[in-house]
Subunit: 236 residues, 4 copies
């Protein structure tokens, strides 16, 4: 059993008509609904919750954290960001979705701007599988077709991914490294580009498959109790 926490800033779905219609209960509940299963125990947390719903206790009990956010990145307190970052470095897996590329925890873990180019024209996107043997691509065909997505274009201001799983191409010819893996400390990180709040992207079977695969891939191998810089003794 893998314990998953789905975090969502949950702003658009309460304030913008099109997002509300697409995800009436919020993106987090949509993700929870397709993840919840015999293998995954799923809880949700949002910006409105006390401490963003991410107390140390919750994080300690989370194997994999999923993060969706867009407009309210700055409302997440630095203390929470540090707590999330440290949990990843201790071994918790984390999946950043779509506009979470500019979330504080993602930027803290990457160390870079995480900037990209963007436009909103509802382009058709094809997300191509670059690495078919990667666990995150399991069960997919050559590409995933998304009828409408926000366009994200390169350059994407990230460290060279340890493994590149997907590259997306858009109707307007832009390309984007849409599925990227990194290991940082004991933890695994996956960034996945699809998932604009006004497109029903998370209702597409292959997108759900990717997220399920990513949860499996991200689950901790080893979890440290502490992050320290130990004073050692010479071996006798």
């Amino acid at each position: 059993m893998i314990n998953v926490t789905v975090w969502n800033e949950f702003y658009h779905e309460k304030n913008h008509e099109q997002a509300r219609e697409t995800y009436p209960n919020g993106i987090h509940e949509c993700i929870k609904s397709f993840l919840q299963s015999d293998e995954f125990q799923v809880r949700t947390a949002t910006l409105d919750d006390e401490e963003c719903g991410l107390t140390q206790e919750v994080l300690d009990d989370t194997d994999v954290l999923i993060w969706w956010a867009h407009m309210k990145h700055d409302d997440v307190p630095d203390k929470i960001v540090k707590r999330v970052q440290d949990s990843v470095l201790k071994g918790m897996g984390v999946i950043f979705l779509h506009s979470a590329h500019l979330s504080k925890p993602f930027k803290a873990l990457m160390g870079t701007t995480c900037n990209l180019s963007w436009r909103e024209d509802g382009d058709l996107e094809r997300v191509w599988v670059i690495n078919p043997a990667h666990p995150i691509a399991k069960g997919l065909g050559r590409y995933i077709e998304l009828p409408h997505e926000e366009t994200y274009g390169e350059p994407f201001g990230i460290p060279e991914p340890d493994e590149l799983v997907f590259i997306g191409s858009f109707e307007g010819s832009e390309v984007f490294r849409s599925g990227c893996c990194w290991k940082r400390g004991n933890g695994k990180i996956f960034y996945f580009q699809p998932g604009h709040e006004t497109n029903p992207t998370f209702k597409i079977r292959e997108v759900q498959q990717v997220i399920k695969n990513a949860v499996e891939w991200c689950k901790p191998e080893l979890r440290s109790a502490e992050l320290d810089c130990p004073h050692i003794q010479k071996i006798q």
Copy 2:
């Protein structure tokens, strides 16, 4: 002064009308013509030359080797392939163009299939700059536009590149890692996808710029006289 050797199998341009019209003197002479300058001393060699024009003496005097080939990969003797591979591992730079992805020296250096998906429909291609600060992208805009190119699609059977500089997207939505860098031994390797024999791709200014930049990037840092596995003594 950088010594460049441009190698071409030189088959299509003698046997296929459209290739001959595009490159009447061969692709190697076209590449030589835009490289030759105060900074680059350029010679050419082809499959027809004795020892493919790649004697040990020639390779020892070559800083950067450029390789174009397509139909006649198997006609390059294994002895020459080994000589090229060893020269790279000793420090010579090498640039593989387009269909050279299946050339013996490239496959020997990669250790993988180097397979890809392909179709010939004369698609428009845009080669997007992923890494604007990379020396090979110097002087380019956001992308290079190629009016017609052979379509190469992922998955591309290569080791994860050390640095990914370009991703191409085609009219039919396919994507391809079009500019890839690796270091192997003392040598640097660059693969560049554009350059089908019936398209005047090598006459496009930005393509020429990439190849010039790549020659600069590939030039040897250190050149070993030998490749050995030395017996050492314990430090006293």
Copy 3:
């Protein structure tokens, strides 16, 4: 159940007194004896077997191949080497031990010299865990102590590993990247430095643990039936 094939050139143990005493039934039988379990189905193969014991049928039925060799690298026919390499690229895992760094399949998969510096003085070696969260380091402490090993020193002529798990240090102060991971095609590759034929290294519990862990890590994610370069059609 993971199907493991342990390949050994099986020369020293028949021809050199000290190796025979250390591994009277051969290194392959020693490795088989500690691997064989409910999780691993183990067979062996040696240079003396027809086709080196590595028919296509055997490889197709092998999840992870383990390779030990030293003096007889050149006696492995190129046809077998290609078969092993292709099996890895299709998805079979492979573990190269100690002097297998110069084996033909390892060199073919790396594309480099795989040279190193060496001396035989029976130094104490400590193999340090660099990446404690890596599955191959599971269950280990900070280092593995080997009372006597052949000294391998840098530079090691390999492509930069995708993941570095161990670094060894020797009594004479030499260092070596002793545990290296790569992905090539669909397959995973692990190189592990300890295991000289005259030292009882494979009888050390932690060394056995590493090899068991590596078998688990190397097992195929996806296995392709063929390696091809497909002609595709434009998506309509």
Copy 4:
């Protein structure tokens, strides 16, 4: 001409007898003295200076920043840390020395703990060259010998380096990734482990050579004026 700024917290050399004796004018002045040349224009800055001596103007005029710090990491204001980080992402090169592994700018750029194991016993260290063709190893032999250094041991909590140039080994058998390269945004980063404040490490010729080489390697390829996330238009 490369503009170098050497930053030093400059605390030990004013407050601890042994550090004062080793570097009476501070580590920054020692480094400046061996760098200053026809190729390098060198200035210094310390924690005592207004804005740590690192105004936007100074950073904009710096090609490569060198950072030494140990006890006073927390005294560097977050505003300055962000300014340094952004300057690197825009293209400025940066070299972190020794105990700067826990400096705020290094940790911000890495996104990890940057923790390590340590002890102070004045061990002999040998810094082995892993990658002889790397520009930072230019002019060195097989290893650099440091009669006495603080011992740094693995695991080192960093992202897998893009290129590993040196591995150090200590009298007590510990190993450490002593020379690590990363690219982040447009900038290049080098971490070099030697340089304890009470050992005259920076007076050793090969250590000076490494730092000179690293300055050359780190110099900007491309410098962006801004870090932005641009809204683009569909190509017509």
